[in-house]
């Protein structure tokens, strides 16, 4: 069964290739079929592998499939191999399954778009790249997938290229992540040179061998990899690209900017956690940064009026939770939150897309309202997703994973309680802002006319994901709910048992459940009092403007990066070096003109020149 692994990334790639070559001539249904089926079959294979794994996991809990040798040079050997272990298995399952659902959703959502086949090319390519990213056994191969998903993200964000703003958002997303990627590349170079290999497992083994705990080299390497991860996962200070990336089609946001790609950073760290364990400073930095990110993003989400931007900020914030977990070494918790987040955030995005579909692509929550009865499917799916995001206890998957993270953080020996406090505050705000959206969109008066209806290809993904949002949490439950440890058990061979704690203080435990409820209550109160609506129309004060702009990162970058660069471009545009060359030619022409004056055509002046020459010659020969 495992030997079919290579098919998992290959099938979507094949789909992309087929559609790329013949998409223009195929009918739409054919395009949809190829696009969806390729991912669907991959999902089936992946699931089969997963089921097979459940019973018959290899003894080492690792399966490596060597495809071919990519680069084989003395001192540098990079093989193209697929590395399947519990972590990548989990990732693969999520990517293919959620990916398939989103493809299915897209076939209807994107129907009639002139770039229909192009869309599926990109989307299939993305899935392939993402699978390569997670399955790569070599860091450089992972980097290939890493950049590949970046490009697909770029292409999909800018999918509707007619609007220059979309293009801008796409470029921004790519460039910001690329800046981080370069740091990662430097990290890869460092690892390659210092450790002699880039194949992840031997590399990690060697790192432990040669580098003492807390040494500068592992810190540097881990730090550089981390920067790459931060960029891809839209964490502070790289988070600015994600809200803008919402310019792409909504299913794209669901797949790339919620479920899969943006969590690559988390995956990277979990994958190389051995290295990070050698660098405690970096881990500490991760947690602190994550705490800041999750709070800032949550606060920013609180004031957005575009439904997708709310979700975007919430993604940043939720990934912040994952990083928080990673920072304290709770790898399983991070992966578990990734799992639940992938499901409920995809659901939220798809629901938002489903809503927008019926509202002529209206995304402003203040222009919606009262949709609870108009589009119940969307309402229920969005509600379930929101509950999960808000981590409403017991009924939502998000609750279990978030609780697990908070629990792990609490036990961190250094600044655990502080981080826990930030997480808790974040949970409160999260519940508040998502409830705000729910109330504003689904309750109150109807503000925009609703049209159209959903087909089955919209409904099925929503229903499946909604079910998932409620149920996947039960894979890993706290003690008082049965103490299922399926995720932990699955991941233990790969990431060890770190981060599993028997129980928390009752108080701390409980506050993790109470905070979301409190958040919902706050949101409801403010909704009832009409505060949200008033605040949206009123002249925003400075704080609100700051929050709305995502705390002004863009403005700062504009001043310190964009403007200097543009000034440089303007200054150099005409190639100043060329002026030197032009100067030389001008000088030659000047000399030519000056010398030319001697050619007056008068014989006596010519005689004068000959005489001058004679005088000079005699002078040199006789008197020199």
């Amino acid at each position: 069964m495992n030997n079919l692994l290579w098919l998992v990334p290959t099938l979507p790639l094949l789909g992309a290739l087929l559609l790329g070559l013949f998409g223009a001539v195929l009918p739409a249904w054919c395009t949809a079929l190829i696009g969806t089926a390729s991912v669907g079959i991959a999902a089936i294979i992946a699931s089969s592998i997963g089921i097979h794994w459940y019973g018959n996991a290899p003894a080492s809990h690792v399966f490596v499939q060597d495809l071919w040798s990519w680069i084989d040079l003395p001192h540098l050997s990079i093989g193209l191999s697929l590395y399947l272990d519990p972590v990548s298995l989990l990732m693969m399952l999520v990517i293919t399954t959620v990916g398939f659902l989103i493809h299915l959703f897209s076939t209807e959502y994107m129907a009639g778009d002139e770039g229909y086949s192009r869309y599926f090319v990109y989307l299939n390519l993305f899935v392939a790249a993402m699978l390569l990213l997670v399955l790569a056994s070599d860091l450089l191969v992972m980097f290939v997938g890493w950049e590949g998903v970046g490009v697909c993200s770029y292409l999909l964000v800018g999918f509707w290229f007619h609007k220059p703003a979309n293009g801008y958002a796409a470029r921004k997303s790519f460039v910001v992540t690329r800046i981080a990627d370069i740091a990662m590349l430097v990290g890869i170079l460092l690892l390659a040179v210092k450790l002699g290999t880039l194949s992840i497992q031997p590399m990690l083994a060697r790192a432990v061998e040669v580098w003492p705990h807390g040494d500068v080299w592992p810190s540097l390497a881990a730090g550089l990899l981390l920067i790459g991860g931060l960029g891809k996962s839209a964490q502070v200070p790289f988070q600015t690209w994600l809200p803008d990336a919402m310019a792409g089609p909504t299913p794209v946001s669901a797949l790339i900017h919620a479920a899969t790609m943006v969590t690559a950073g988390v995956y990277l760290i979990v994958r190389t956690h051995v290295l990070f364990l050698l660098a405690p400073d970096v881990l500490m930095a991760i947690s602190i940064g994550a705490a800041i990110t999750l709070l800032l993003a949550a606060l920013a989400a609180l004031v957005q009026s575009d439904i997708k931007r709310v979700l975007a900020y919430s993604t940043i914030s939720q990934i912040g939770y994952m990083f928080l977990a990673v920072g304290v070494g709770a790898w399983s918790a991070a992966m578990f939150h990734f799992l639940t987040h992938a499901v409920f955030k995809a659901l939220l995005f798809l629901s938002a897309g489903a809503i927008a579909m019926r509202l002529h692509h209206e995304q402003n929550i203040f222009k919606m309202g009262g949709l609870r009865n108009k589009i119940p499917l969307a309402f229920w799916s969005f509600l379930i997703g929101s509950a999960s995001l808000a981590a409403l206890p017991v009924v939502s998957a998000g609750s279990f994973s978030k609780e697990m993270i908070l629990g792990s953080v609490w036990f961190d020996p250094t600044i655990g309680p502080l981080l826990w406090g930030a997480g808790l505050l974040g949970a409160l705000i999260t519940a508040t802002y998502i409830s705000r959206v729910v109330f504003l969109v689904f309750f109150g008066p109807v503000r925009t006319e609703v049209s159209g209806r959903y087909g089955v290809r919209i409904a099925v993904p929503l229903i499946v994901l909604a079910a998932g949002s409620m149920l996947v949490g039960w894979l890993e439950t706290p003690g008082f709910l049965g103490g299922n440890r399926m995720v932990t058990v699955l991941l233990r061979p790969a990431v060890g048992a770190v981060g599993i704690h028997p129980a928390m203080d009752i108080l701390a435990d409980a506050s993790g459940y109470i905070a979301p409820l409190l958040g919902v209550a706050i949101a409801f109160t403010l909704y009832r009092s009409g505060y949200w609506q008033r605040a949206a129309t009123a002249q925003p004060n400075a704080l609100r403007r700051l929050m709305h702009s995502g705390f002004g990162f863009d403005a700062v970058y504009d001043v310190i990066l964009v403007r200097p660069f543009m000034a440089l471009v303007r200054g150099l545009r005409n190639d100043p070096v060329d002026l030197v060359i032009t100067g030389i030619s001008v000088l030659a022409i000047r000399l030519h003109r000056a010398l030319r004056r001697s050619q007056v055509g008068q014989v006596r002046r010519y005689a004068g020149w000959v005489m001058v020459g004679s005088i000079a010659t005699v002078a040199i020969l006789v008197f020199a």
Partner: protein, 475 residues
């Protein structure tokens, strides 16, 4: 008896031909006949050279020195004259308002003067040969006397070359005054011990510089080239330079000949100035004949670099470069000449008039391109090897400043050579089709130019054959 005059055969054959031609013209005027007689005379003279080289009688040893290398240079001169004659025969088409028969005669006289100069062993023959060459050349320059430019060029050349002759003569006078001898070898062997001899050397050098047209004695060159009819211009650009350089090369090989530091300084300055100023003057020039004039100034500067190297490779370089220069310059003026006729008010010499030559007359344009590539020193033309020779000599003798200047000025030079190629390659203008467009290329001209083209490429790709040949003659 024959053995006595064997070494002097080329010179004597030329003198004989002059007499025959004079008589022929006196009896019956016929241009074709004159050309034929001249051509036969030149061919006979050339053909006699290998034979002459084997002679070893000291014929008129006090006046002439018929060594293999001087005879070799003489051969080069004669061949150049022959090609000029062939081109002139077409150029001087019927219909001009002056008789045409004297042109071959003047050409013959001038060549005779050049050969005498090349083979001179005494200042007497040196001066007489030089003046014969120049005076006959004045006649050739002003030959289409109905052209204002030709007359003016003739007058300018007359006055300035007269001036330079007087200067040279003054120098020769000083030599005699200081040594009491007029033999070149004696003067060289005496060495430049006294200031008088130094002054003499300087003044003779001025005259040589004038004939070689190096800066600062170059000023007459463009005017005379521009005013002279194309074949003559080619002749003027080539023959005196071969002749004077032949003497210099020979003198430098004489016992006792050394280059004093002051001489090196003087020649170096002249070389540097010639290379730079020559090329700079040509830079934006619109008249191709003037460009050729300026470019010849620069090329002689290059030759001086090899001369200064004063080594075997330098000497070989001078000879090789001279051969290259001769082939190339003759080729350039051949193309201009083929496109022009003496009957017209002026030659086709504006760069702009060459626009579209590639499209209208690809053969001519190809030859011209090869010529220009050769002048610019770009393979596969022979000029590339020649320039390599010069640079090799310069590098070998470690003449850094000179070689550096050579490189810089070559780059400047590239510009105007390329510009001509560029203009030729542009599409022809709508109305102003090439004025010479209707002129048919006569068989002889076609042959001459094909020969030039073949030599440029042939020797460019296989320089060894030429090197070996020159080595045989010039050692």
């Amino acid at each position: 008896m024959i053995a006595t005059i064997q070494p002097a055969a080329p010179l004597l054959i030329l003198a004989l031909t002059v007499t025959i031609l004079l008589a022929a013209i006196a009896i019956k005027r016929s241009f074709a006949g004159s050309v034929a007689i001249t051509a036969l005379g030149l061919i006979a003279a050339v053909a006699s050279i290998p034979w002459a080289m084997h002679g070893n009688s000291p014929f008129m040893a006090s006046l002439f020195s018929f060594t293999p290398d001087s005879l070799g240079f003489a051969g080069l001169t004669l061949l150049a004259a022959l090609v000029t004659l062939v081109l002139a025969a077409d150029y001087l088409a019927p219909g001009i308002p002056v008789p045409r028969e004297e042109y071959p005669l003047l050409l013959l006289l001038s060549t005779l003067g050049a050969v005498a100069l090349i083979t001179s062993a005494s200042f007497i023959t040196l001066f007489l040969g030089m003046e014969t060459m120049s005076l006959a050349m004045i006649g050739m320059i002003a030959y289409p006397r109905f052209r204002p430019g030709a007359e003016e060029a003739g007058l300018k050349y007359l006055v300035l070359s007269g001036m330079s002759s007087a200067i040279v003569l003054f120098g020769i006078g000083l030599v005699e005054l200081a040594t009491g001898h007029l033999q070149l070898a004696t003067a060289v062997a005496t060495g430049t011990v006294s200031p008088i001899l130094l002054a003499a050397l300087a003044l003779i050098g001025v005259g040589a510089g004038f004939k070689l047209a190096v800066v600062p004695f170059h000023i007459w060159v463009p005017d005379v080239y521009a005013g002279a009819p194309a074949p003559t211009a080619g002749f003027v650009a080539v023959i005196p330079k071969i002749a004077v350089l032949a003497v210099i090369v020979r003198v430098m090989a004489m016992p006792g000949a050394t280059l004093s530091p002051a001489t090196v300084t003087a020649i170096s300055s002249v070389a540097i100035l010639s290379m730079l100023i020559g090329n700079l003057l040509a830079l934006m020039q619109e008249n191709i004949k003037r460009i050729m004039g300026y470019s010849s100034i620069a090329h002689l500067g290059y030759v001086l670099v090899a001369l200064l190297a004063a080594s075997a490779i330098g000497r070989a370089g001078v000879v090789f470069y001279l051969v290259t220069y001769t082939i190339t310059v003759i080729g350039a003026f051949a193309v201009i000449g083929v496109l022009s006729r003496a009957a017209a008010a002026r030659d086709l010499d504006q760069v702009a008039e060459f626009q579209g030559l590639f499209w209208e007359r690809p053969f001519l344009a190809t030859i011209m391109t090869l010529v220009l590539l050769s002048l610019a020193g770009i393979p596969p033309a022979i000029g590339f090897i020649a320039k390599m020779y010069i640079m090799a000599a310069g590098v070998n003798a470690d003449l850094r400043i000179l070689t550096g200047t050579l490189v810089v000025s070559s780059i400047i030079g590239l510009f105007y050579y390329l510009r001509i190629i560029l203009v030729m390659s542009q599409k022809p203008l709508e109305r102003a089709a090439i004025p010479g467009g209707t002129l048919a290329i006569p068989m002889t001209g076609w042959l001459a130019m094909s020969a030039v083209g073949a030599l440029i490429v042939g020797f460019g790709i296989d320089p060894e054959s030429l090197i070996a040949m020159l080595k045989l003659v010039f050692g």
